[in-house]
């Protein structure tokens, strides 16, 4: 194991080729899981005893909300690695993840609002869960805006990494908000500490959709990372060679 050269894969040139081979697989698996998950959730799963069909939001809302938090943590880890090891690829991965994370956060806020109106009686309430999720959305936007505002990519990377690391404090707040405070948002149905409080087939549909979201997020982040690599390394030899080879 000690002979394994990790630094080989932190070289943008190697990563570019490897990511290119992996992306179609991740997209393919994501599409398959999405179809299977939606079929489970919309056709096979029964209606809920309280919410009837409105509960079917969970097949989109919950995976998106989970992904929004997971992506932020992964982004912060890349940012920390980038700051500590000064690897360009780490920063590029952090930048590549942000738009997907923002998209997932937006989906969870938007579907939540659509569900909240008929179920709770309000599109939006300022309870701890909803507010902290909105802050997560602003953190993603702030990260992207700050990086876009600074011309020098190295400085942009460092400034963005700082936002990513400061903002990671918000993720446990989102997750535990329903336990720490009185919120309108209900507690977790699925957690590591207790058995899930939902019917098995509903749970299956939700987990399959969550896996699909993972696969999609990985594929989207990898392909965005490839674009960032090309843009930043456009003057390097390997890009010139690759373009020549294709021409």
């Amino acid at each position: 194991m000690s002979n394994f050269n990790w630094y080989k894969y932190s070289s943008p040139a190697t990563f570019y080729g490897l990511a290119g081979k992996m992306i179609p697989w991740f997209y393919g698996v994501a599409a398959l899981l999405c179809v299977a998950g939606l079929y489970l959730g919309l056709f096979l799963a029964p209606t809920d005893f309280q919410q009837s069909d409105a509960y079917r939001i969970i097949f989109i809302h919950v995976p998106a909300a989970w992904m929004a938090m997971v992506i932020y943590v992964v982004m912060a880890c890349w940012a920390a690695l980038g700051l500590a090891f000064n690897t360009r690829l780490s920063f590029m991965m952090a930048s590549a993840l942000a738009p997907t994370g923002a998209l997932m956060t937006f989906i969870s806020l938007w579907t939540g609002a659509l569900w909240g109106k008929p179920t709770w009686g309000a599109w939006w309430v300022w309870d701890a869960r909803l507010t902290s999720e909105l802050i997560l959305f602003f953190l993603y936007l702030g990260f992207m805006a700050l990086q876009a505002a600074i011309d020098d990519p190295r400085r942009a990377d460092r400034a963005g990494a700082l936002i990513a690391l400061v903002g990671v404090v918000n993720v446990p707040i989102i997750y535990f908000s329903v336990r720490w405070w009185n919120t309108l948002h209900q507690g977790a149905s699925v957690s590591v500490t207790k058995s899930p409080s939902m019917a098995a087939i509903m749970l299956a549909g939700m987990l399959v959709m969550a896996l699909a979201a993972w696969m999609y997020a990985i594929a989207a982040a990898l392909s965005r990372a490839r674009s960032i690599i090309l843009e930043r390394e456009k003057n390097s030899q390997w890009v010139a060679q690759m373009v020549e080879g294709e021409a």
Partner: protein, 150 residues
């Protein structure tokens, strides 16, 4: 120790310090982050008197009375220890039911009745098909008749 390991430890320490700061701040604002008060807190006088606030709990079974105009409703919110009487004029959400969770916003009037301006249904984290729910209810009833209340 290599420079990059030092840096990594530094970043980790900074994040931990930030976490501690966040925890302290949130703890200090604890009472302001509460979305609703329980009826017990209201009876104890912990809820504000001069401005509107929210009361959360269960709609007491058998307490819902609808007026003839169709939009005014009276019910009691309970946390099983204390109850608060609520007056509300407006549409009740679909999930509003006796024995289910509710969060209502408004203020107390002179008679101690909570005059609500908004009623929100708070539902729980349990999802199951209707058949399973009724089976569960039957089982609970059976258990209650087996174990006599003390």
């Amino acid at each position: 120790m290599k420079l990059r390991h030092k840096k990594l430890i530094l970043v980790a320490l900074a994040v931990i310090a930030l976490g501690v700061v966040a925890a302290l701040v949130l703890n200090a604002f604890r009472s302001n982050l509460v979305f609703f008060f329980s009826p017990t807190q209201v009876v104890k006088g912990e809820a504000p008197r001069d401005r509107s606030f929210r009361v959360g709990g269960l709609v007491e079974k058998g307490s819902l009375v609808r007026e003839k105009d169709g939009v005014t409703a009276h019910f009691r919110v309970t946390d099983t220890l204390q109850t608060i009487a609520v007056d509300y004029t407006g549409l009740l959400p679909d999930l509003f039911k006796e024995g289910k969770g509710v969060v209502t916003e408004g203020r107390l009037n002179d008679r101690g009745v909570f005059v609500a301006t908004q009623v929100l249904a708070k539902h729980d984290e349990n999802y199951m098909p209707p058949e399973a729910a009724s089976a569960l209810e039957q089982a609970q009833k059976a258990q209650k008749t087996l174990v006599a209340p003390k």
